[in-house]
């Protein structure tokens, strides 16, 4: 690969999300993977992004306020009664 075609770290970092989404062009993909092979910093960065994504997915869900839920359920029931063609 010519030195002009070789990817620099800044560009590699810019393309990380595209790479993870499988959205790189074939030629960019080759240059990207080639850069990861030759660089000792960007693979670390990629692993950190992957870990960040995993941690984001681990965040705990909050609950829903009870009165909120009850009101919506009531609205659902009254609308469903209106929507069905069968007698209640």
């Amino acid at each position: 690969m010519s030195s002009a075609a070789m990817m620099r770290c800044e560009e590699c970092v810019e393309l990380i999300t595209d790479y993870l989404d499988g959205a790189l062009s074939p030629s960019d993909q080759v240059r990207f993977l080639d850069h990861l092979d030759r660089c000792d910093k960007c693979p670390r960065y990629l692993r950190q992004i992957e870990r960040t994504i995993r941690l984001t997915g681990e965040l705990r869900e909050d609950g829903m306020p009870e009165p909120w839920r009850a009101e919506l359920l009531e609205a659902f029931r009254s609308r469903s009664g209106r929507d069905t063609s069968e007698p209640p």
Binding site: V13, R47, R79
Partner: protein
Amino acid sequence: MSPVAGLDASLPTGHALLDALRAGDEDAFVTLLAEEGPTMLRLAMAYVGSQAVAEEVVQETWLAMLIGLPGFEGRSSIRTWLYSILTNRAQSRGTSEHRRRSLPLEGAVADETAERFTTRGQWVEPPSHWDELPEERLLVAETLGVVDRAIERLPAAQRCVVELRDRQAWSSAEVCEALDLSEGNQRVLLHRARRRLRAALEEHLK
């Protein structure tokens, strides 16, 4: 959440979910409330800031869904429809004052400027070695809290995308539909959000 992946087996998906809701299946509705409510609240918060207003926006969204249900043609999934209602309402409720308001930063600025490159495109300061930490070191309340707070500080659009893509594991196509974004725009927002979250983690783990 994707209509096909990761759901409780008892909750119908896709058209089955739509049919169940129209038939008045309360279990389906209650499960949908529980699954989507917390995320909807977080996304509303991205635009309006106040928890009370965000809760109103979410309530209104559910009610709008119930009203629109008979006429909903099912061309998109119920979830993407729900979130497009939500984000439209949240955006119109969000005031310009809130958008200008700068949220307090914890410690050093945790954003993409943490990554700096020379004019030759090389790292000024390379990433630190926290990728080598064992998983248990990261899966603790304190570290998760760092990510949580960093998400809250993201600009609204970045926050919405990363919540749906990375926290809720929606597909790219679903997020684009719900948030009315092109795939390219969505990816740019996701990229910026992830970079900020990574920087916040790195700062915390130094």
